[in-house]
């Protein structure tokens, strides 16, 4: 894009850029958050919703790991955190 000289040019090109940006965000909003959702074979990304599944699994597996390392299941006789 060449140098913009007149104020008018600058305004209309910035308007043009803003329109492009707004249009892009309209597309992104639909294509990234709506539509048919089928998790395919290759999980390339984790959407915010998927993080919950990962989070819960992580939580469960980390508790199990801790129990293993301590050699006993965690009982209810711990001190309540204040």
């Amino acid at each position: 894009m060449g140098a913009v000289n007149s104020i008018q040019d600058r305004n209309s090109s910035s308007s043009f850029l803003k329109e492009n940006r707004v249009t892009l965000l309209e597309v992104l909003d639909r294509a990234l958050t709506k539509g048919v959702v089928i998790s395919g074979d290759i999980v390339i990304s984790l959407a915010d919703v998927d993080l919950i599944y990962v989070g819960l699994k992580l939580l469960v597996s980390s508790v199990e790991t801790m129990e293993r390392l301590r050699g006993a299941p965690m009982s209810g006789n711990r001190e309540e955190p204040t």
Binding site: V22, V27, R30, L32, G35, V37, I38, S45, V49
Partner: protein, 246 residues
């Protein structure tokens, strides 16, 4: 060689490469009974933040809605092989078929409206403090003054949201007769009064656009954004489905 899937169409025709998709590769149809999955071969990895690829995804769908009813897939639906796509189509056939029938000859449009949220909130806050019922006093205990403060915010918010609902109802009223389905979102941000998606029968598109012009004339100082035609992202019912392969 993976397969990128763009959407589901109501056709089992062999469509070959009259549209190109991601990586400039030809899009084809994977048929199953009387529907099909639009796909293309995917060689290179795709990041979920790849905006250019999202645009390519969208371009394919927009060309396709000119000829078919399309259920658009969310961006980045990829399968390892054709059989997996077919078993996916088999598993969800009934839902896809229902959606395709429901969305046949219909188009999605978007209308966003901006209002002066901060100004309106201030007006409500001023009116509230003028009509002050429970005036905070220095004798109040901390618990009580906390409640009073929170209550004031609560009342102002409530009035603000009710005002938004009133204005949205007026706006939406312009379109009711001309739409099949709608999705209205109120106050996505303080200034984004309305984010609406409307599903319009193709035959009523002109009426819908006329209704929009009427609304514009009526709305005066409101700011609007009209977008479309879109593939019906907001009106497919199959969402958040985990494809059970395990």
């Amino acid at each position: 060689m993976a397969m990128y899937v763009y959407g589901i169409i109501d056709s089992n025709d062999k469509i070959d490469a009259f549209v190109t998709g991601l990586d400039g590769v030809g899009v084809y149809n994977i048929p199953y009974r009387d529907i099909g999955a639009l796909a293309s071969d995917l060689d290179t990895p795709v990041r979920d933040t790849d905006e250019e690829r999202v645009l390519e995804h969208e371009t394919v769908l927009e060309k396709m809605i000119e000829c078919f009813t399309v259920l658009p897939m969310r961006f980045l639906t990829v399968f390892n092989e054709k059989n997996n796509v077919i078993s996916m189509l088999n598993e969800h056939y009934n839902d896809f078929r229902e959606d395709l029938d429901r969305l046949h000859d219909k188009t999605e449009f978007g209308i966003k409206v901006i209002w002066p949220g901060a100004v309106i909130r201030e007006k409500i806050a001023n009116a509230y403090s003028k009509a002050q019922v429970s005036v905070p006093s220095p004798d109040d205990s901390p618990g009580k003054s906390f409640v009073k403060k929170k209550f004031e915010t609560y009342k102002i918010n409530k009035e603000f949201e009710e005002e938004a609902d009133r204005r949205i109802a007026v706006i939406d009223n312009f379109f009711n007769r001309n739409v099949c389905e709608k999705k209205l979102e109120r106050l996505k941000t303080e200034n984004m009064l309305l984010n609406a998606s409307y599903l319009v029968d193709n035959e009523k598109q002109n009426d819908f656009k006329k209704a929009f012009e009427e609304m514009r004339a009526f709305a005066g100082d409101l700011k609007y954004l009209f977008s479309g035609p879109w593939p019906p992202y907001n009106f497919v019912t199959k969402t958040n489905t985990r494809h059970d392969r395990e």
